[in-house]
């Protein structure tokens, strides 16, 4: 870890320990159904998480606490304890990613952002619930996650197939939707700051409605190839309030093809 990252991490950890710890504790209490809020039910009796939601923080730039820079708002971070327990080699790789982030970030090539990053991009997503499946439709890159809730499905063999967005199975624990996602590739990042994982990533997300318009979003991250221990993120996501709001489209690819055309033209001229 570079000295400044280390300094920043320690400084922010010291400052925010007091602020974050109670939030995390309350998040867990809510996850266990202790928030006192009982969500309405869907027509088939599930806790109702449906609607258009969006995170409101700066985790898409850096999931850890960070100061502002040009075009990037400062943030208090969403990582519990603010420390990401990288193995030494991985801390060096993260630093390298950070230095090259403008071009090396998979999002700069319009690749799918992975999980959980897609949740805290500044784009809305809409949750739909069916008896056997929860579908999350994301405005970003027209992606839809199918979360199988049938209790019978299993993850495919990770040695046979992996995905940018993983393979998701879901279940209910009280009023909390628990989503277990594996079968990731090693191509996505957690944020623009270069936080990364390997294809051994295992993500467990917990969606708990704590009021009519807030879902608490807890994420636990395991990846024994990259981290020394599991770690967690937590953040609220908020219901978008606009009347007649609907998901629109963010395609990204057309701009990428324009860039490729320009690069080809320049290569031709250089010949």
């Amino acid at each position: 870890m570079s000295s400044w990252v280390k300094d920043l991490t320690m400084a922010v950890a010291a400052i925010t320990a007091v602020a974050i710890a109670p939030m995390a504790a309350s998040g867990q209490a809510q996850g266990a159904g202790g928030s006192g809020y009982t969500p309405p039910r869907t027509q088939d009796g599930q806790p109702d998480l449906q609607g258009i939601w969006q995170a409101l923080n700066s985790a898409e730039w850096d999931i850890q606490a960070h100061a502002a820079e040009k075009g990037v708002p400062a943030g208090i971070g969403v990582v519990e304890g603010n420390e990401i327990p990288y193995q030494p080699w991985a801390a060096a790789r993260k630093k390298e990613n950070f230095e090259n982030r403008l071009t090396a970030d998979p999002l700069s090539k319009c690749y799918r952002p992975g999980v959980p990053r897609i949740t805290y991009l500044s784009f809305p997503f809409q949750i739909f619930q069916f008896p056997d499946m929860v579908a999350i439709v994301y405005e970003y890159l027209h992606y839809t996650r199918f979360i199988y809730m049938d209790g019978k499905s299993t993850h495919p063999d990770p040695n046979v197939i992996d995905f940018w967005m993983g393979h998701s199975l879901g279940r209910w624990e009280g009023n909390t939707l628990v989503v277990d996602t594996t079968n990731f590739n090693d191509q996505t990042w957690f944020d623009r700051a270069g936080n990364f994982h390997s294809d051994a990533l295992h993500v467990v997300e917990r969606f708990t409605r704590t009021s009519p318009d807030v879902v608490n979003y807890d994420v636990s991250i395991e990846d024994p190839k990259v981290f020394t221990r599991p770690w967690k993120m937590t953040m609220p996501v908020y219901r978008r309030q606009e009347k007649d709001l609907q998901l629109l489209e963010y395609e990204c690819y057309p701009d990428r093809y324009d860039e490729l055309e320009k690069a080809d033209e320049e290569a031709r001229k250089a010949k």
Partner: protein, 432 residues
């Protein structure tokens, strides 16, 4: 003219109108009746045409090569039927305009061969009404996984001409003896001549697109499907989809291809300045028919890969009705007076997949850049060598479809009708 050249001329396409001099308003129809292999003409088959409005009938018998010719027909809508003892009659309903020459090739199948063939799409909703189940909130229940894999035609490569002749799908179909002569894949039901009714300027622009498809030199020349862009409401939907219904919504769900969220609550369309690749859809029920009106389309999508463009003034009305418990009839009307001479309509028939696999991420874009670049480099090399052409279908000369180098890079899945329950060849084994 050698037999081969003659056949090549014949094979330009069943719906291609060739203007002829003289005999101002007469229609000429020529063609060949083939066996199931598509390689051999059938002699002594009867070809009958019936003029729908007058009942006038003409009949000819094919020659030793299976060829026939019907000169001096009056214009109008016809049913053309090929028949021979021992074979199942094969017919098609077509509209022929005066002063034109049409080519119609049909194949004849024995009853055993016919039983193994894919079924044609319905061109209209059957008259006997089917009463669907209701969802818990009282909507007609259209839920399920729907596809066209067991049908003949409807391929989004060309809604007028069907499958790309260079693909392994068609090559394999040729080997298996299926529908390579009369596989026109045409799902246009109005106008009946099966051609998108472009205004003259638009027809010229479309030819430009077909030339760019033959030898693409710019990224913008590549088809949206190659580039994994959203392809517009009808092209995203025509091959079938996974329908789910909730109070207030119908959803066409797809992990990577652009889920369509269709609100049923009567809310107004988006402001006109919001243009979307898949448009802005609003649904309502007319009896047991789901009607979807889509506006706010951008002008960047095509109906298929044949350069079939529209403007951002396009409005689409799709109608979905259960024909029976396992058959869903889909039609789409396209209204865009800036580009077309009339509202036109396509119709498809979706079959229920009773045992669908899990839908998995396709990572289309993430894996597509290299394939797209190969196609582009081939086109650029061809253009640099002065090779020009337009993309067209000719079963007798598939090499004419694209500029030469392109043909080395045709990588497509196995034909869907050999394994009708497999909706994707890229899927590995599915967990159950």
């Amino acid at each position: 003219m050698t037999q081969r050249t003659f056949r090549s001329v014949l094979a330009i396409g069943a719906f291609l109108a060739l203007p002829v001099a003289g005999q101002a308003q007469d229609v000429t129809v020529v063609g060949t009746i083939y066996d199931a292999s598509g390689n051999n003409g059938i002699r002594a088959a009867t070809v009958q045409v019936v003029h729908e409005s007058s009942g006038a009938t003409a009949r000819v018998v094919t020659d030793a090569d299976g060829n026939f010719q019907l000169p001096s027909l009056r214009p109008g809508v016809y049913k053309i039927t090929a028949e021979l003892n021992g074979f199942v009659p094969n017919d098609r309903r077509l509209e022929w305009l005066g002063g034109q020459k049409y080519i119609v090739n049909l194949q004849l199948y024995t009853p055993e061969q016919q039983a193994r063939r894919p079924k044609p799409h319905l061109s209209a909703l059957p008259a006997n009404a089917f009463s669907p189940r209701r969802t818990p909130d009282g909507q007609p229940d259209l839920e399920g996984s729907w596809g066209i894999a067991r049908r003949l035609g409807g391929d989004s490569h060309s809604i007028e001409e069907g499958l790309d002749p260079t693909t392994a799908v068609l090559k394999q179909a040729r080997g298996a003896g299926y529908d390579i002569r009369d596989h026109q894949g045409n799902v246009l039901v109005d106008p009946m001549r099966g051609k998108i009714p472009y205004q003259l300027w638009a027809e010229a622009k479309r030819l430009e697109h077909l030339a760019n498809d033959y030898a693409p030199t710019k990224w913008e020349h590549l088809d949206a499907e190659t580039k994994c862009l959203l392809m517009g409401p009808t092209r995203e939907t025509m091959g079938g989809t996974r329908i789910r219904q909730l109070p207030g919504y119908v959803l066409f769900l797809s992990p990577g291809r652009g889920t369509r969220i269709i609100p049923l609550d009567g809310r107004p369309h988006l402001p006109a300045s919001v243009k979307l690749w898949n448009g802005d859809s609003r649904g309502h029920w007319e009896g047991d028919t789901l009607v979807i009106e889509t506006s706010n389309n951008n002008d960047k999508t095509w109906f298929d890969s044949h350069g079939s463009f529209h403007s951002d003034a396009m409005r689409v009305v799709e109608r979905l009705t259960l024909a029976d418990a396992d058959t869903l009839y889909y039609e789409a009307s396209i209204d865009d007076p800036t580009v077309f001479t009339q509202i036109w309509k396509m119709a498809l028939t979706w079959d229920r997949d009773r045992n669908p696999d899990q839908e998995w991420e396709d990572a289309c874009y993430e894996g597509s850049e290299r394939t797209a670049r190969n196609i582009l480099e081939a086109g650029r090399r061809a253009a640099a060598a002065g090779i020009k052409g337009i993309h067209k279908h000719d079963e007798f000369n598939v090499e004419s479809s694209y500029a030469p180098a392109r043909l080395k890079d045709t990588d497509v899945p196995t034909p869907s009708w050999s394994e009708p329950d497999e909706s994707s060849a890229t899927r590995k084994e599915s967990p159950k």
